[in-house]
Symmetry: C2
């Protein structure tokens, strides 16, 4: 049986980025940018006032004081029409272009206006405003010059990048698309959530869980519902799922007599890359690839129990989704945490045990939760992490450092 | 001028949770659960096999070995019809109910089947399987009993909770709705991203930036576009925006002559709670409340520069959105980080300075980025945090610990 690390390597080897696609700017949040974007403007587009006040010539100040004739008023969106001469000032708003001749802006708070009569704009009296040339002026292009590549391909588009793309004139942008992930739950024992299970039946919790996990990981979930363990039905619905970028099946991959899924996948031309991983929960994991021309579909057969499904999703499916979406850092960051209480781990497979992680005084602590195994989803409602225990029986002591995978 | 903390207190004081609403399970991801949910089933629903193998009676084992007649085969979704007698075994799949009389399950790997002839199921030979009663059996209800409240109101609905809700039979669920946030950019200088700005004009980067920030914070952005600084137009579009849970305006709240927004808001019956906060960037922040019967609208007038807008969004709008959505921890967690290089902060207001945070050997380090002030959005593309510098001039040394706000 292969290790988790080897299985991750084999999975990622089969995954390559999807072809880029242009999307409207407002739909690009969270995607990876697929082009380098250069600005078509200087930012700021002109030497501009950084405060509301008066554009002046510092040569007119004597000990930070002056009386200057107001020759013009420039509002936001307007441009100054008059050049500043000696003894003159222009009233100006934050962001406005400064007039020719001006070399500083004095903020309103240090000024008074007098001598306003008729149509005259009056005189501004400046007090206590010693200024160097350039004060309160932002130079054209100081943040970005026309032609500058301000965003490189490969960066994640956050709200900041959306603002910057808008500033650079982009209303559409080339991005890596969200992977489409088909989800199929298999098993004769499954009924939908709205149905009361008869004896021997259970509700399909895996389907909704995996669809939500796909959405949270930035993918488009394409739910295919429940399919019974019967070859003709499985063939039809699996064929449909192979049109997605990823097909996630749950159930039907352990050693049981009715586990028909691997056989049906093979019939349909899905090549098995591996089956079974040294992992608990999640040992029966099946992984294969379907090639149809240029379009590949990566196929995961996850075990039927919901906790196994979730662990396999986090370790294998989510990193592959990240790679398809053009991300570089595709494995979830691991943390180190200190065990909060003594805990004995037994078993011949590395185990991912539900746990609660808390950042308290004295560091990051992790508490292993009481857990009844791979079908016990309820224990996970209190979990925000999985502790990774190495294989082998061992008693762990409080304060020992362990690897954890935040959920 | 009030402090950031006082302003946050005043803002949160005006915010209360929105009325809960039933949504289909598949639309509940990321929302806060608004009801306690009890299970209508035991989990597991029956004593069940934890492995694929043979249901046996441990009394039949001698030194972990036995030859037992196979009396029945139980597939997933089936129920055993025959009770186990002495010397008998039932072939059974993981998850299946165990037959009456059985007290352990031996996994396939420790068995061989012999004597199969005609319709006979044959005999199972068990080797090297010393077992205690209860081995490989999960007891009915051990993870959850019918009537147990497995999820409390107030918890966040993650993929795990969606799986658990499905298991408990919920296809719809009471949740706290996403807040609807109207976004309006004001200013005569603004043009949409697809337009090339004329002299004195700039593109509206704030609108797209804030819409994306709202979406990322789990809200529904309702973009109202650009409005010129003219009272009649502002009145119309602001009236429309007051029908949302939150109205975010950007621009029009500093001291400029054309800053008509506060006047129009007042005319429309929006009560000002505060105007201006001791903060850089973001000083001109305006906040008020509009009451129309039971429905309130919280109104934020953000400064027109994109970095100021973003900082005010993170400090004030996002926590209020979290409160409306029913969350308890509404302020973004602050981190401590070690300054990576000497840095001089000057200014009489607490400042949020764009920075890059990295978790490297020796701890979490933060690097203040070169930044040209509140209009310089480009500097933020490299930022993943804001450093909080206290007011006053001070030279900070490498290795000093500072408060940071991750972005």
């Amino acid at each position: 049986m292969i290790s988790v690390e080897e299985a991750q390597r084999l999975v990622v080897e089969q995954a390559s980025s999807l072809p880029p696609r242009a999307v409207p700017l407002e739909e690009s949040l969270g995607l990876i940018l697929a082009e380098a974007v250069a600005s078509d403007v200087d930012s700021p587009p002109h030497d501009k006032a950084m405060v509301d006040g008066y554009a002046i010539r510092t040569a007119d100040l004597a000990n930070g004081a002056a009386r200057l004739a107001i020759i013009e008023e420039v509002m936001a969106g307007d441009v100054p029409l008059r050049m500043l001469g000696r003894g003159e000032a222009t009233r100006i708003m934050t962001g406005s272009p400064i007039p020719t001749g001006c070399d500083a802006v004095v903020m309103f708070e240090r000024t008074d206006v007098v001598d306003v009569a008729g149509d005259a704009l009056g005189t501004v009296v400046i007090r206590d405003a010693p200024m160097r040339p350039g004060a309160n002026i932002l130079k054209q292009g100081c943040s970005m010059r026309r032609g500058d590549v301000a965003l490189e391909a490969g960066c994640e588009i956050r709200p900041i990048e959306i603002g910057l793309l808008a500033e650079m004139g982009r209303s559409t942008v080339e991005t890596m698309p969200r992977p489409r992930v088909a989800i199929l739950s298999t098993g004769n024992e499954l009924v939908p959530p709205e149905q009361v299970p008869a004896r021997g039946q259970i509700r399909n919790s895996n389907g909704p869980l995996l669809a939500a996990a796909v959405a949270r990981a930035g993918g488009i979930a394409e739910p295919l519902g429940i399919c019974r363990d019967e070859s003709p039905a499985l063939r039809g619905v699996i064929s449909a799922g192979l049109r997605s970028n990823i097909l996630v099946l749950s159930g039907g991959v352990s050693a049981g007599v009715l586990d028909l899924v691997p056989a049906v996948l093979s019939e349909l031309g899905v090549r098995c890359v591996f089956h079974k991983v040294r992992l608990k929960p999640g040992k029966p994991l099946w992984f294969g690839v379907y090639c149809a021309g240029a379009a590949n579909c990566l196929v995961f057969g996850l075990p039927g129990n919901p906790v196994s499904s979730l662990v396999c999703f986090e370790l294998f499916v989510r990193p592959v989704m990240a790679r398809l979406a053009g991300r570089m850092d595709i494995f979830p960051p691991r943390k180190q945490a200190l065990l909060s209480r003594a805990f004995t781990h037994r078993g011949d497979r590395p185990t991912y045990h539900p746990a609660h992680l808390a950042d308290d005084e004295g560091g990051v602590h992790v508490d292993p939760l009481k857990w009844h195994g791979s079908a016990d989803l309820r224990a996970l409602a209190a979990a925000n992490a999985l502790i990774h225990f190495a294989s082998g029986d061992r008693q762990w002591m409080p304060g020992e450092s362990l690897d954890v995978l935040p959920l």
